[in-house]
Symmetry: C2
Subunit: 225 residues, 2 copies
């Protein structure tokens, strides 16, 4: 394959997608030389990409130790979903008011892709797409600043799911997204807001946030690392 010119943004993006799709589990060491080798760039650009991901809380940068895929604590998990509950319902309301046929179509295509991925057994990709669905909704609300924040929260949610999700089978059988599109199509802002709110609550309550994975046993560490 032809060697493509790649910058730090592309490196960060590819790593972010891999993390989001659970191909890089929390705690994974991201060796600079290794990553550079894979993408055909020097450590300089790899480091820039890793720093970008660190700012998004997707990786942990430990001085003189290297970069690791982040492992959100229980506390952080709660915070992320609190933040989402604060911001996303209002955003969904705003999106419902602004959505035209083109936007609705795009959302439906998005869900279509998600279903297709699920059918192929590519759970990781399906999870990724079900996350970015929220990004699309935020984009429709036409508030770039908040959309960016939501995108970060969605990414972090993916890490939280990797750590604290219990019943992965029931992944996205829920038709919450379909219902939301319906409300948006009807321009029913109240309903859209309510649906988003309950959808997030639903996600949150299906996590097992009792305690453990925050301080993983060093033994477990060794086995998984």
């Amino acid at each position: 394959m032809a060697r493509q010119v790649i910058g730090s943004a592309e490196v960060a993006e590819k790593l972010a997608v891999a993390i989001h799709e659970h191909r890089l589990p929390p705690g994974t060491k991201l060796n600079e030389d290794e990553v550079g080798e894979i993408f055909g760039v020097s450590r300089t650009v790899v480091r820039a990409g890793l720093q970008q991901l660190a700012h998004q809380h997707l990786v942990d940068l430990k001085r003189n130790r290297g970069a690791f895929v982040a492992k959100p604590s229980v506390r952080e998990a709660r915070e992320v979903f609190e933040a989402r509950s604060l911001v996303e319902p209002t955003t969904a309301r705003s999106a419902a008011r602004r959505a035209g046929p083109a936007e609705i179509a795009r959302l439906r295509a998005h869900i279509e892709a998600e279903h297709a991925a699920l059918a192929e057994g590519d759970d990781g990709r399906a999870l990724y797409l079900s996350g970015t669905f929220h990004n699309e909704v935020a984009r429709i609300a036409n508030q770039e600043t908040i959309a960016e924040f939501i995108a970060q929260l969605v990414s972090r949610s993916s890490l939280i799911i990797a750590l604290y999700w219990e019943r992965r089978a029931a992944l996205c059988e829920s038709h919450a997204h379909d219902a939301l599109i319906g409300a948006m199509e009807r321009g029913d802002a109240d309903e859209a807001e309510a649906l988003m709110k309950s959808h997030l609550l639903d996600l949150y309550t299906s996590l097992d946030l009792r305690d453990a994975p925050a301080q993983p046993k060093t033994l477990k560490e060794a086995l998984s690392g």
Copy 2:
């Protein structure tokens, strides 16, 4: 003076404060060699710091052109204040519920410092402190994730003020912050939320967001650069 060891985080922080205090106006070119010279570090660490600031939207990184202090558009200005209005009132409510005597004292000390700076004629510092006051409130709410988002919005607000503020004299004579502390001290969450909401609206409406500085005349550009 002893040469202190400084990393990219410190560089970013010092530049951020300078921007926040309006010592580096929007559009200012941040030459890598020059900044490195000032802090006694190589371009490598300067670049890392600049990238961090770019992620916070405090500087604009233009490929092959360099780093410039950001010039938020009118649209961006609106978005930032919309986001703040969405997030900060709820945060103030939460802070009011959690604030104990220690927190109240810290806030009062903060305001004290702001008044002192104003008395010394250091308007930039006063502006900086009046901004970070909001960060302190967010910290009391004990929601790190949202607090970080607010901190970014506050920084960007400082740039917006630099570009679109009209009556700078009336800077912070308003006693909105004092009133907020009062409500928090009484544990009056409703009042704290309402005060924060009106305070932000007040700020927003005192901006002149009619149009211009978004697409600055190239002539003006040349004069200011």
